[in-house]
């Protein structure tokens, strides 16, 4: 059968395409030469340079804070939205609501960024809030699009769990609120964790929206990286990329192992 060799080869080539540039970037982060593509010996000096660059460190710290706060806001809003969409079959404006929740997923970044900036400017001139732009406005912007991602993740978890558990709790006299905190929340907890992590990484990664809504003195990590890359090759960006890739790879690996471990247990119980 032809499919016998075609699929494995196509898949291997595809994976090679996905990983080759990343692998070469990691290798060249240990290159001695400033020329990013000519190998001249092993060195970790770019990592040292990275940690002595105050601008980069400041931007990284700002980005981490923004990511943590906006992922947390998005976690609350996205979970509430998911509960509404899965549990309330009918309510006024449901179509509009589900549209508003999912549209930010595919909205081009330039539109989202421009729209929020114009909103902030208009609000400042009419309401006097928010004053200027910076961390607060970036957090609001990121929380908005991360809400959409959290909602998708939580929605899928909510729609495939056994509702009889909730009904049993209610029959035993628990109020809906109590049922939610005692029964629903523990069950959807894994989805909440992955939703938060997804929001965190997406916020940490955003360049376009942050460029629109940030103010002077509040450059996020992607903004600093982008301006460095625009100026030309910089081996310290390779080093930074390697660190980020290593952290992410470990995180995803840990999550996958946890999931695989959890599976047989669930089947037994």
């Amino acid at each position: 059968m032809r499919r016998g060799w075609f699929l494995p080869i196509a898949a291997s080539l595809g994976f090679a395409f996905l990983y080759a540039p990343i692998v070469s970037l990691v290798i060249f982060s240990f290159n001695e030469s400033k020329l990013v593509t000519v190998w001249s010996g092993f060195s970790t000096k770019w990592y040292g340079e990275l940690f002595s660059d105050p601008q980069l460190l400041g931007a990284a710290w700002l980005s981490l804070q923004i990511a943590a706060i906006s992922a947390s806001i998005a976690l609350v809003l996205g979970t509430l939205a998911a509960v509404a969409l899965v549990r309330f079959r009918r309510f006024k404006g449901r179509t509009l609501f589900s549209g508003m929740v999912s549209a930010p997923l595919v909205m081009p970044d330039v539109i989202t960024g421009l729209a929020l900036l114009l909103l902030f400017v208009a609000m400042e001139s009419t309401l006097g809030w928010p004053q200027g732009r910076g961390m607060l406005t970036i957090v609001i912007a990121h929380a908005t699009f991360c809400t959409a991602y959290v909602c998708v993740v939580v929605q899928s978890r909510l729609s495939d769990f056994d509702r009889s558990l909730e009904e049993a709790a209610m029959d035993l006299g628990a109020s809906p609120l109590r049922t939610f905190f005692d029964i629903t929340l523990p069950i959807i907890a894994p989805a909440l964790v992955s939703g938060w992590l997804l929001g965190f990484t997406l916020s940490l990664d955003d360049l376009v929206i942050a460029s629109f809504v940030s103010g002077p003195g509040s450059s996020t990590l992607p903004m600093v990286i982008f301006s460095k890359v625009k100026l030309g090759v910089s081996p310290d960006v390779n080093a930074l990329a390697t660190i980020i890739i290593a952290i992410v790879a470990l995180g995803v690996l840990a999550a996958t192992i946890l999931q695989l471990r959890a599976r047989p247990k669930r089947a037994r119980g």
């Binding site: 540039p21 508003m100 595919v106 081009p108 330039v110 539109i111 628990a174």
Partner: protein
């Protein structure tokens, strides 16, 4: 809803606080549904829907020096409120060749890149869906992993790969092949879009392909169809929702892409996301940028509707 029929047996003591809170809220007319809906509805109205309305409003203003750098739509003069709407931005969009060319070239680049992504992603998704169980999760993780690593850094990794003295050209040099010019061409932009959006194509395709009943293939083979025929008349039509969902997930964001054309493309690579960016940051013409954004919204509305239909089909099956 719940207050209508109270349980006849009084609830245990430890349940009381929550129930009491809810009863008190119900008394002032606040139901559980309202409590769940109010925060996300308000947030999305204020930070998603209203901003789009503001963009539309400002697209009808003109550039002005000052803060904010656009003319006011409403003005009051001697007790009368005047509404001034300028259509000049939209007229410029249709009369200035730059904008029309940028829209057309964005759609062309996004469409071609989407087709290439589909051609690469389909066999990968199929291979993963047909892989043995213990391999499947690992392969899926390998697809998702790059999606979690920074988008910007992956585009940057490509520049190191395709540069004049980059990895590919050094490799070709080993065989005595002249270095290729890849960076700052449309070719590099295609590679960039395919490279960064491939996971978005593979995941929905995988979701539909993995649910297909293998009995269908066997039936088709038993009836004498060759593998190619089975693929064309059974597999392909059944995976259509995945194809549409994946394609739209690549096509829609690719149209408005800014990072890829500005890092990989050349000065001749016209894309509308970049035009909007320049209009805003370089020319500080906010009303013109707003009009460009509104026109871009019109372009992506139909693909977004297609996507929503396909996505519900992917989930339901």
């Amino acid at each position: 809803m719940t207050t209508a029929h109270e349980p006849t047996i009084p609830p245990p003591r430890r349940l009381r606080p929550w129930n009491a809170v809810e009863r008190r809220l119900a008394r002032v007319g606040i139901t559980g549904r309202m409590l769940v809906l109010i925060a996300p509805v308000l947030w999305l109205l204020v930070f998603f829907l209203v901003p789009l309305a503001v963009v539309f409003g400002i697209s009808l203003a003109t550039k002005q020096f000052g803060r904010p750098p656009y003319s006011a739509l409403l003005s009051t003069e001697e007790g009368t409120v005047q509404l001034t709407l300028h259509l000049s931005n939209y007229i410029r969009l249709f009369t200035d060749n730059l904008y029309v060319a940028a829209y057309l070239s964005s759609i062309r680049i996004a469409a071609i890149a989407t087709v290439i992504t589909l051609l690469i992603g389909y066999p990968m998704a199929y291979a993963i869906a047909r892989a043995p169980d213990r391999w499947r999760n690992i392969l899926l993780m390998l697809v998702v992993l790059p999606f979690f690593t920074s988008f910007l850094l992956r585009v940057y990794a490509l520049t190191g790969f395709m540069r004049g003295n980059g990895v590919i050209n050094q490799f070709l040099g080993l065989f005595g092949i002249e270095p290729l010019v890849m960076m700052q061409t449309d070719f590099a932009v295609y590679v960039g879009i395919v490279y960064t959006y491939l996971p978005f194509m593979i995941l929905p395709l995988y979701t539909t392909l993995v649910k297909l009943d293998t009995a269908l293939f066997e039936a088709s083979a038993d009836l004498g169809a060759r593998p190619a025929r089975t693929f064309l008349s059974v597999t392909l039509p059944l995976s259509m929702p995945g194809i549409v969902a994946g394609s739209m997930l690549v096509f829609i964001p690719a149209i408005g892409e800014f990072v890829i054309p500005s890092l990989l493309g050349g000065p001749g690579t016209l894309m509308i996301g970049r035009v909007l960016w320049d209009e805003f940051f370089t020319n500080t013409n906010w009303p013109r940028a707003a009009a460009v954004a509104m026109a871009m919204l019109v372009v992506v509305v139909v693909p977004i509707m297609l996507l929503q239909r396909a996505q519900s089909a992917v989930v339901e099956k």
